[in-house]
C-alpha cells in the first residue's frame, strides 16, 4: 500500500476510534444539530407547505406518536426480524455451499461468473416474478432478501477458501488430518475473514432490498411504513421512517456486523489479503 512511505494526512473517513470516545465526544451530534437547524431554516424561510416538507418539530411529534401507538416498534421489529432471519439462514446455507464450491478449482471457476450474474440481476428485479409465485406476503420478502444476502456470502466464502495457501492444507494433511479436521482447522479459520466481509456486503445489499421489497409487498416493515405514508401525504411519517431506517442500519452495521468483522480479523486475520 502506498501508505508505507508516510503516515496519511488525515484520519480516514471511518467512525472515530473508540466506542467510549463517541460518548464523551458529543461532537458527533454537532453536524446533525446543524442539519436540523438548516432544515428548520429552509422550511420557514422558503415558506414550504406541510405537504412538501414538515418542520423538525412536526417530525418529532410524529415520532412520539408512532412510538406511543406502537406502530414504530411493530414495523421496525418486522424489518429487523426479517433481516436477522435472512442473515442467519443465508449464513447457514451459503457458507457450506461456498465451501463446497471453493474447495474445487473447477467448481469455483464455473460458479464465479454465475454468481456475478445473479448479483447483477438484483433480488429486486425478481420481485414481480416472486410475487406471482408466492403472492403479496412476507414469504416473498423473505425469498428476495435471502437471495440478495446469499449471493455475496457464497461468493466471498468461495474466495476465502480459494485464497488459503495450499501449503497449509498440505501441511495438515501430511500430519494425518482427516477431512473434518481440515475443515475446522484450516478452511474455516482461513475463510472466516472473507466470510464476514461477505456478510457485511450482503447485509448492505439485503437491507436495501428489504426496504424496497417491503414497499412493494405492502405487508409490514419500515419500507411499507414510509411508502404507505406517501399515499396519505404524511410527510412527517415518511421523514421519521427514513431516519429510523438510517439509524437502525447504522446500529446493525457498525455495532453488530463490523465488530464481528473486526473480532474475526483480529483473531484469524493472518491470511487476510
Amino acid at each position: 500500500m502506498s501508505t508505507a512511505l508516510a503516515p496519511s494526512r488525515a484520519a480516514p473517513l471511518a467512525a472515530p476510534a473508540g466506542f467510549l470516545r463517541m460518548f464523551s465526544g458529543f461532537r458527533v451530534l454537532l453536524p446533525f444539530a446543524a442539519l436540523v437547524v438548516l432544515w428548520w431554516t429552509i422550511k420557514i424561510a422558503a415558506g414550504i407547505s406541510d405537504e412538501v416538507l414538515v418542520s423538525p418539530a412536526t417530525a418529532f411529534a410524529a415520532f412520539v406518536r408512532l412510538v406511543d401507538t406502537g406502530v414504530l416498534a411493530e414495523y421496525a421489529g418486522t424489518s429487523l426480524r426479517m433481516i436477522g432471519a435472512c442473515a442467519v439462514f443465508s449464513l447457514a446455507v451459503g457458507v457450506p455451499i461456498g465451501f463446497a464450491v471453493g474447495v474445487n478449482r473447477y467448481a469455483a471457476r464455473s460458479c464465479e461468473g454465475f454468481l456475478r450474474f445473479l448479483q447483477g440481476v438484483s433480488g429486486i428485479a425478481w420481485l414481480p416474478l416472486v410475487i406471482i409465485w408466492l403472492g403479496l406476503s412476507y414469504k416473498t420478502t423473505l425469498a428476495v432478501v435471502i437471495y440478495t444476502l446469499i449471493v455475496p456470502i457464497v461468493f466471498n466464502t468461495m474466495i476465502g477458501v480459494r485464497t488459503i495457501p495450499e501449503n497449509y492444507v498440505l501441511a495438515l494433511r501430511s500430519l494425518g488430518a482427516g477431512r473434518l479436521r481440515l475443515a475446522t482447522d484450516v478452511y474455516l479459520p482461513g475463510a472466516l475473514p472473507s466470510i464476514v466481509v461477505g456478510l457485511r456486503l450482503g447485509m448492505g445489499y439485503g437491507w436495501r432490498a428489504l426496504i424496497a421489497a417491503e414497499m412493494l409487498v405492502h405487508s409490514g416493515g419500515l419500507g411499507d411504513l414510509i411508502f404507505s405514508a406517501r399515499t396519505f401525504n404524511q410527510i412527517d411519517r415518511i421523514i421519521v421512517g427514513m431516519i429510523v431506517i438510517g439509524c437502525l442500519y447504522i446500529i446493525v452495521d457498525r455495532l453488530i456486523v463490523q465488530p464481528i468483522e473486526n473480532l474475526t480479523i483480529a483473531r484469524w486475520g493472518v491470511l487476510r489479503k
Binding site: 476510534a17 467510549l20 406511543d68 406502530v71 446493525v252 463490523q258
Partner: protein, 122 residues
C-alpha cells in the same frame, strides 16, 4: 502534560481494541433487543393498569371493549381482533368490542402497551 494534540490522542486511556469491539457488539445487541422486546416488557409491567377491576379474575371467556387513545390503524385492528371474536365498535372507532376472549388472550391484551383500557362489555 503531553505537548500536542497528537500525543494527547495517542496517550489517552482507551480500552484495548479487542474489548472495544465486544462492547460495541453488546451495545448493538442491546439496542436491537430494546426495539424488539422493549414495548412488550413495558406492556407487561403496566398490565395491571389496563384491566378493569371487574375483569381481573376471569373465570372463563369474557366479552370486553378494548379502548385505545387514538384512531386505530390497520395493524392495531388486526392485532386486537386476533384475540377474540370481533363484535363491532362500541360507539367510537377507538372502542373495539370483542367476544369470547379467553383468560390467556385477555392477559395478552392487557400486556399490549398501546391499549389504553379494557372494559367489560355490557
Amino acid at each position: 502534560m503531553s505537548p500536542n494534540p497528537t500525543m494527547r490522542a495517542a496517550t489517552r486511556r482507551r480500552l484495548p481494541r479487542f474489548d472495544r469491539e465486544w462492547l460495541k457488539f453488546a451495545a448493538g445487541m442491546l439496542l436491537i433487543a430494546l426495539v424488539l422486546a422493549g414495548p412488550h416488557l413495558v406492556g407487561m409491567a403496566t398490565a395491571g393498569h389496563r384491566l378493569d377491576p371487574a375483569l381481573k379474575r376471569p373465570r372463563g371467556p369474557s366479552n370486553v371493549v378494548v379502548v385505545l387513545n387514538f384512531t386505530p390503524e390497520r395493524f392495531h385492528s388486526e392485532r386486537v381482533t386476533s384475540y377474540g371474536v370481533f363484535a363491532g365498535r362500541d360507539g367510537a372507532l377507538n372502542r373495539i368490542r370483542l367476544r369470547m376472549v379467553t383468560p390467556e388472550n385477555l392477559a395478552a391484551l392487557a400486556a399490549i402497551p398501546w391499549v389504553a383500557r379494557i372494559e367489560p362489555l355490557k
